[in-house]
């Protein structure tokens, strides 16, 4: 394949942000009809490289060649004109518009007298069906859908055009196995039609499954370009991390003993037929101290909604909630927090980050909120806490005063996790906590969760990766069609078991 001219050829790309050299002389070649994985730890510079290519960021030095022609795109619009189609890391769509509009925005079919809305719908339907999303109403407002659906819509938008290059920056971070497979089917067919695809993911399985070749970055520098099948996983990981991987050996299953139900004790949290009209129903949970409850279910099955109910972000209007033996109504997140409940949202951008505040301010925010505004956490204590967690979670750059919106996606996620860890909650609800986190950090976080549970913290764990759920949880609650349908103690539950329940029990 090497004789062929690359579709995209990046050479010596450098970008410096104030204080950070995000890219330092990076090369990348993309060939027609290949899936190319861009690999690296959180903050390695993957997203920045993509933004450099598509003209979001101006480059300091280097050359961008597309189809043999040198370019310097002045913005995403120009990159699109050169038939480069991109899904950026955070969902970048317009929440106020409908799905179909989002898919076709800027390239609406026209006819005499304006936009051909019928055709818009037809095309949107077609591409949604291609992604197996035919059940979605193309006219519904985007913001009414979960992050996963939004991610899929973004993908639908990107594959809707006739592109030469398709760039997908962590497109699968919220998706279930099923959706991932659907996406891969589309990717493969595009590849077979000669599209060059750049794919970023922290899921090694997926990378190995779909990619032909990969480029590895570390700290903004190029480590090398490899053929996927020639690079064993372990060496990929050590190339990404720059060190040998002993700390990273898969989480030992024996580490996660199933903590038995303590039927003698009062459960920390007891939900009985908890629900909310139009949202989720029939949530029955008994969670004891030190237990991990995993929520399993398909995309849109209501896991996020369940978590929101338990946190008071939405108010429950059915059933009963008992916390440590007393019946409670959670009117707001505030009251949940007062009961020792913490919730880390899957929607980092809208529901987590305070973008214009520093890492430190973001990190201590929840703790400060629960202490009240009068008792400001002293500066030295703030610094101490921040430094501790920057170290513990390996947050990069290790700069307390950096604005959080300038951090890479994975590092933002770590800060948000730390925000809740410092409040030392009794119950920690984690909705996709490992979303967009690199393999090293992910294992670290899984370990952390396990340790926290060992220390007596209860955890509700939601992840699109069912394996991760099965590996960590003591109990697994299965949701289907926004109702809870089963609660399994995790004594060797397998993926098949869960899938059977989801497939089987008619709601």
């Amino acid at each position: 394949m090497n004789e062929i001219v690359p579709v995209v050829d990046l050479r010596g790309i450098s970008i410096e942000f104030p204080g950070v050299k995000a890219l330092d002389g990076v090369d990348l070649r993309l060939f027609q009809g290949e899936v190319h994985a861009l690999m690296g730890e959180n903050g390695a510079g993957k997203s920045t490289l993509i933004k450099a290519l598509t003209g979001v960021y101006a480059i300091d030095s280097g050359t961008i060649t597309v189809l043999g022609e040198q370019h310097r795109f002045a913005g995403p619009a120009e990159a699109q004109d050169a038939r480069i189609s991109t899904v950026y890391q955070e969902v970048n769509l317009c929440p106020n518009l409908s799905i179909e509009e989002n898919i076709l925005l800027g390239r609406e079919p026209r006819r005499r007298g304006g936009i051909h809305w019928k055709e818009v719908r037809r095309r949107a339907r077609a591409v949604l069906e291609r992604l197996n999303l035919g059940h979605l109403d193309p006219g519904s407002v985007l913001s009414s859908h979960s992050i996963a659906i939004q991610q899929l819509v973004a993908i639908a938008r990107s594959v809707q055009v006739d592109a030469k290059v398709l760039i997908l920056d962590e497109p699968t971070s919220s998706l279930d196995t099923e959706e991932v497979q659907q996406l891969f089917a589309v990717i493969r067919s595009l590849r077979d039609h000669g599209v060059a695809i750049l794919f970023v993911s922290h899921f090694l399985e997926q990378v190995y499954e779909i990619s032909d070749r990969m480029t590895v970055l570390r700290n903004g520098r190029l480590v090398g370009e490899f053929m996927t099948r020639e690079l064993p996983r372990m060496s990929l990981i050590s190339k990404m991390m720059g060190k040998e991987l002993d700390a990273l050996t898969e989480l030992d299953r024996s580490d996660v003993r199933t903590r038995p139900d303590r039927t003698d004790a009062v459960p920390l949290l007891l939900a009985e037929k908890l629900g909310r009209k139009g949202s989720v129903g029939n949530v029955d949970i008994a969670l004891y101290e030190g237990q991990i409850l995993g929520l399993a279910g398909l995309l849109g099955s209501g896991r996020t909604e369940t978590a929101r109910l338990l946190f008071g972000a939405d108010r429950a209007d059915q059933g009963q909630l008992t916390i440590r033996g007393t019946a409670q109504t959670l009117r707001s997140p505030r009251s949940a927090i007062d009961h020792g409940i913490a919730f880390s949202s899957e929607n980092r951008k809208e529901e987590g980050l305070i973008g214009d505040l520093s890492v430190r301010d973001n990190l201590v925010l929840a703790m400060q909120a629960s202490q009240g505004w009068l008792r400001r956490i002293p500066a030295h204590q703030q610094d101490q806490l921040t430094e501790k967690f920057i170290g513990a979670l390996d947050i990069r750059p290790a700069d307390k005063d950096a604005l959080i919106r300038n951090l890479s996606g994975g590092n933002q996620q770590k800060v948000l996790l730390a925000r809740w860890l410092i409040t030392n909650p009794k119950l920690l609800i984690l909705d996709e906590p490992t979303r967009g986190i690199d393999i090293g950090a992910k294992t670290q976080i899984q370990k952390l969760i396990s340790t926290l549970a060992g220390d007596g913290m209860s955890i509700i764990f939601i992840s699109a990766e069912l394996e991760e759920v099965l590996r960590l949880s003591d109990h697994i609650a299965v949701l289907k069609d926004r109702r809870m349908v089963a609660d399994l103690p995790n004594d060797g539950v397998t993926m098949e078991d869960v899938m059977t329940i989801i497939a089987g029990s008619a709601a």
Binding site: A58, G355, D356, L365, W373, R376
Partner: protein, 343 residues
Amino acid sequence: MNALLKHRLTWPVLALVLLLLLNQVFRADFLSVRLQDGHLYGSLIDILRNGAPTILIALGMTLVIASRGIDLSVGAVAAIAGAVSCTYIYTSPDPSSLRTAAVAVALAVVAGLVLGLWNGFLVSVVGIQPIIATLVLMTAGRGLAQLVTDGQIISVSNDSYQSIGAGFVLGLPISILIAAAAFLAAGLLTRRTALGTLIEAVGINPVASRLAGLNARTITMAVYVFSGLCAAIAGLMISSNVTAADANNAGLYIEMDAILAVVIGGTSLAGGRYSLVGTLIGALIIQTLTTTVYTLGIPPEVTLVFKALVVIIVCLLQSSRARTLLKQRRRPVTATSDVKVAI
């Protein structure tokens, strides 16, 4: 030097200094301050004294804007405060006593707090967009003030009351001292406690703030109450300065001046990070601008054109984009933040 150039207050300060120097060029004794009848006297003192109400109101406005709101009602609240206090003094049996003045001030302050609470309630509990919520009071408020004064200008003669806006202690105008005290109080209150950060958090991302456990409602309420309080005190200053309550004209358009001051001071109307010092400088720039018009003898017909040009120049100076365009420095093509002007 470079750090100094980058500091966000450098350019507003520079603008202020330039304006003052411009005046000095036209009038050699502009910057001189002398002692007259035992108190300081001079154009600089006038700027501070006349700027005190704007400074006060802009302080309150800064916090409101930081929380992603806006308060259009401040002028009306100032008018109500003046109307309430002057009408009380006018109708009281002992219109020149200290006690009467004290009660009048207390009444005005309470009125300001209540009106602030009302705005805060509409915005945070009822959930009306701030610009409209406060537009209601902006419209109705002057009516209320006129209702209190029966549409008349109420003149009072009470020395203690007059001293709020026109009096001196130790040679310093009392209004400046009040503004300074309010400035310090606001600074301490927001920076020594966590209030400042919490307000910023609510302003930047209200949803995330709520999920982090912040009581956004209370915080919002608090900033509007503070704004109401500042407006009431400013209203007292304005009316005491001329020893009369003019329900229709007191504090007219002061909300625009205050917003302008806040923005010139570097606080974004989209909410979030704010700078009280910046606001202070912004308010001084605006007052100096008015004085400059008088000093230069600019005819009233072109005053507005002149003001508009200065405002544009100050904003251009302050815009980092303008400077980078000049220097042709590399920067991300895309705007980094997703925030929108929220008013």
